[in-house]
């Protein structure tokens, strides 16, 4: 006990220490003022960026008398070369000579003239801090330094090879937009902005990660978002202390409420339409650079059972599909456990003929039902994992070999019963019908827990296991919002977007669980009704 405590203590100490050291380093690093001497600035840059051979220093002289020294700096490969060559270098070195006279007369304000008149790039900004300039340089901006002026110009020339806007592979729909987020932050914010042209859509950016300095954006709609949730998100993001963020999964794990829970408390999506819809519901989107997965908070259990397609299909069909999806969830959670409970503890509740056929098929199987179930489930998980790792065409082969051949052979060898194979196969299909991968995966874990519960205590164990899951869900919160839909009345409003998907014209209110200010989604009646009036 004491040893354990000591280990934890020293671990915590060392963590605190490193965090402090990093802080101190940061403080030291930030705040190197720019000098008016170009050479001194360049020396600092060269010293800081020593051995960074991808940094390009383009020295030049400006003016007809070649008396004005300047340097252009950028990281090779991270800038749009076309932009740098044509809009900056050409303007500075060639076009400026046409304004010879005015340059001569306004020599004191050379810098201002250059900035205002000759750099034909949309977004520029200044800094007097060399370290900030380095950060900008490493983010893909081009730096412009002019001799005699203690200021660095940052020119937005970011441009690097990136994947185009493609159809997201993890959340495919039959009907719906085909564009998906990609690895570039700006593309992602654009995809959202294009869907919501509301000035109240806020896109706040910050940097997380002491070394990676990853751009992270919090997007929300100001008068719709729940201010409590927004503050909570901001505070939690601020508290993140880590050296690098490479995927939104890092952030998800660092800000979630309960890290012991098998359920995801943060939703992720690759689909801009889903993110935009979530924003209109009053939720907050967290977009991280270098990953197509956007985080949506707060998350409730039913939002993880929804697919954007639900809203594009007509309501009756969408509702039917959603009910089907809940059934799939129930199947993937309890089917093997139910099979075990019924066959090994309480065969009385199913018809005699079925009992006989199950018993007949299990004849010769050397294991009890739960061992059989665990063997089959584990091999299925193996197949699935192997299929993910292998390249596309081979992955399919694995599925066929594993699913058909091994299954058939196992039955013929008398290791498992055919009904068990059916149960496991239906369970697997059902778990693929759950639209969000991270819920499906938590259901897979809980399925094993329920199998064990049913193996020990039969139907009673299964019921207790389900109760424990309900209890766990009831205690779970995502950013202060209860994970279970916490309605208190059984009226239609609470169910309109839960198990069914009500007609759009009836959904005039935003979800009740968030306390945003603008509650109303739509005020107008349907056009036909209006005309009738």
């Amino acid at each position: 006990m004491s040893l354990y405590k000591r280990i934890r203590k020293t671990k915590r100490n060392s963590q605190e220490k490193t965090a402090k050291e990093v802080d101190r380093q940061n403080i030291q690093e930030i705040g190197m003022p720019a000098d008016s001497s170009l050479d001194r600035n360049l020396d600092y840059f060269r010293q800081q960026l020593e051995d960074a051979d991808d940094v390009v220093y383009r020295e030049m002289v400006i003016g007809s008398r070649h008396d004005l020294r300047a340097v252009l700096m950028y990281v090779d490969g991270m800038v749009d070369k076309d932009l740098v060559n044509h809009q900056i270098l050409k303007s500075l070195m060639l076009d400026i000579r046409q304004a010879y006279d005015s340059v001569q007369t306004l020599k004191e304000d050379m810098y201002r003239i250059l900035v205002k008149c000759s750099i034909t790039v949309g977004e520029i900004s200044e800094t007097q801090d060399l370290d900030q300039a380095i950060l900008a340089l490493l983010s893909g901006e081009t730096l412009f330094l002019l001799d005699g002026y203690a200021v660095v110009l940052k020119i937005a020339t970011r441009g690097w090879p990136s994947r185009g806007v493609e159809e997201p592979p993890t959340e495919s729909v039959i009907r719906g937009p085909r564009d998906g987020f990609n690895e570039t932050l700006r593309v992602n914010t654009t995809l959202i902005r294009r869907r919501i042209r509301d000035p109240r859509l806020k896109i706040k950016s910050l940097k997380i990660g002491q070394r990676s300095q990853t751009d992270v954006v919090i997007a929300y709609i100001k008068d719709v978002v729940d201010p409590n949730v927004l503050n909570e998100v901001k505070n939690r993001l601020k508290d993140i202390k880590i050296d690098g963020i490479f995927e939104s999964g890092y952030i998800e794990q660092l800000i979630e409420d309960n890290w012991l829970s098998p359920f995801p408390q943060v939703q992720n999506t690759e689909r801009p339409d889903e993110a935009a819809a979530a924003l209109l519901e009053g939720r907050v989107a967290i977009i991280v650079d270098n990953t197509p997965f956007v985080l949506l908070v707060p998350t409730t259990l039913n939002s993880l059972f929804q697919s954007p397609e639900d809203y594009y299909e007509r309501w009756l069909i969408a509702s039917a599909i959603r009910v089907l999806r809940f059934i799939a969830g129930a199947y993937s959670l309890i089917l093997p456990a139910l099979y075990i409970a019924v066959t090994s503890f309480n065969p009385g509740i199913i018809p005699n003929r079925l009992v006989l056929s199950i018993a007949g098929s299990r004849e010769g199987v050397p294991f009890p039902a739960y061992v059989e179930a665990i063997i089959m489930e584990v091999s299925l998980e193996l197949l699935r994992e192997a299929g993910v790792r292998l390249p596309g065409p081979i992955g399919q082969t694995i599925g066929i070999v594993g699913g058909l051949i091994i299954g058939q052979a196992a039955v013929q060898a008398g290791i498992v019963s055919p009904i068990m194979v059916i149960v496991v196969a239906i369970t697997a299909i059902a778990s693929f019908a759950i639209p969000s991968y991270n819920v499906a995966i938590s259901f897979r874990i809980l399925r094993f827990a329920l199998i064990l519960a049913a193996a020990f205590l039969g139907l009673y164990g299964l019921v207790l296991g389900l109760l424990a899951i309900i209890v766990h869900l009831a205690t779970l919160k995502s950013f202060g919002v209860p994970y279970l839909p916490s309605f208190d009345k059984y009226n239609i409003k609470n169910f309109q977007d839960f198990v069914i998907r009500a007609p759009l014209m009836t959904m005039k209110q935003r979800p009740m669980f968030l306390e945003g200010r603008d509650k109303t989604r739509a005020q107008d009646e349907r056009p036909e009704e209006k005309e009738a009036n």
Binding site: I349, L457, L459, Y460, L464, I470, A474, T475, S486, D488
Partner: protein, 366 residues
């Protein structure tokens, strides 16, 4: 982290109340009413329900005088430090013993019907562990669980009861005119015990945020329970007749064993019914366990009563293991409800309400 505000709405109060009342009692209720009043027994449910309703409203009236304080906090004001504390302690013990009975009866029933070879200790410990996991998180998760369980229970129970109408004999309900009137006065209190659970209002009402129609809400819950009980009694009567009902320990389970759905996948309903019944007992236990540790914590003067939830666990478990068999359990239970039940649900609230009125104790905006 955002904090739970520990507040529930009036509708949640209703849901929790219904679930707290419906527990182990419902399976033996038809036998009890049949023993007292024969074929007219089902009318007794209405009378017993009305008596329980009056008692529930008395508790509500008492709690409404102190809208922000729980019973152990204001009992001291009303009856003085010694008596007030003693009474609060008595109520805490009462809730604990109710939990004990629930745990023991579910253990016996599950062992008898579902898990023949499993030791009863395992059955009791597992369900109590799940209850403990819930109650130590306070009242809010309890209400969220209630919201899920209630529709499951109500719809599930009625779906199971509908097939019982096939082959029913409505003449079993005759004669409609009861013959033994004096028995009613002895029986009516006994039947009102089946509605026990409403005494949890002592603790539930202070948690209710901005209550407006408390009397209406409480009455609604009581009437809903009464109707459910009534339907169950009538169905058992028309299926078995009075004489047979009297001879069954748990008429409702026997009914589920007897009923068959023609052509359905599920052949015998008792397994499914028992699963639902586990939900019902669980939802009673969650409230009584919560009341027990919360009131006890308040009596001791703890700021965080939830730290008592875990220490209570072994106490409840040991007490639940004391009775030798089902017969003894029901003997104890009958004695317990007659004395403790009357005291906590009937007499104490009346006396405290009268005392509070006489001594003019009430909180500002009560």
């Amino acid at each position: 982290m955002l904090k739970d505000n520990d507040a529930i709405s009036e509708n949640q109060l209703m849901q929790v109340l219904i679930l707290t009342i419906m527990g182990v009692g419902v399976v033996s209720l038809p036998r009890e009413v049949a023993e007292i009043w024969g074929a007219s027994g089902w009318m007794l449910v209405i009378l017993g329900g009305l008596l329980a309703l009056v008692q529930a409203l008395i508790i509500t009236a008492l709690a409404k005088r102190f809208p922000d304080r729980t019973f152990p906090e204001y009992s001291v004001d009303i009856a003085g430090k010694f008596i007030g504390t003693a009474v609060a302690l008595l109520i805490a013990v009462y809730f604990m013993l109710v939990t004990v009975f629930q745990a023991r009866i579910i253990g016996d029933v599950i062992k008898l019907f579902l898990l023949f070879d499993t030791p009863i200790e395992v059955i009791i410990v597992t369900i109590m562990a799940v209850v403990l996991y819930l109650v130590r998180n306070g009242i809010e998760p309890i209400t969220r669980v209630a919201v899920i369980i209630l529709p499951l229970l109500v719809f599930g129970a009625f779906l199971l009861l509908i097939p019982a109408f096939s082959g029913a004999d409505f003449s079993n309900l005759l004669p409609l005119v009861p013959d033994n009137i004096p028995a009613v006065f002895r029986g009516i209190t006994t039947i009102s015990f089946s509605f026990l659970g409403y005494e949890s209002l002592l603790l539930l009402i202070p948690f209710t945020a901005k209550p407006k129609h408390l009397n209406k809400t409480v009455s609604k819950a009581m009437v809903i329970v009464m109707l459910i009980y009534l339907v169950i009694c009538i169905i058992v009567f028309i299926e078995f007749g009075v004489a047979e009902t009297k001879s069954l320990i748990w008429p409702l389970f026997s009914l589920m064993k007897a009923v068959e759905i023609p052509g359905a996948f599920v052949e015998r309903l008792e397994g499914i019914f028992l699963s639902l019944w586990v939900f019902a007992v669980f939802s009673t236990m969650m409230m009584t366990y919560f009341c027990a540790y919360f009131i006890l914590g308040k009596v001791i003067g703890l700021k965080q009563p939830r730290i008592l939830a875990v220490p209570l666990f072994p106490v409840i478990y040991i007490l639940a293991m004391i009775p030798r068999n089902v017969v003894v359990v029901y003997e104890y239970l009958g004695y317990f409800t007659k004395t403790f039940g009357t005291l906590v649900a009937g007499i104490i609230p009346v006396i405290f309400l009268i005392l509070a009125v006489i001594r003019k104790k009430r909180d500002a905006h009560g």
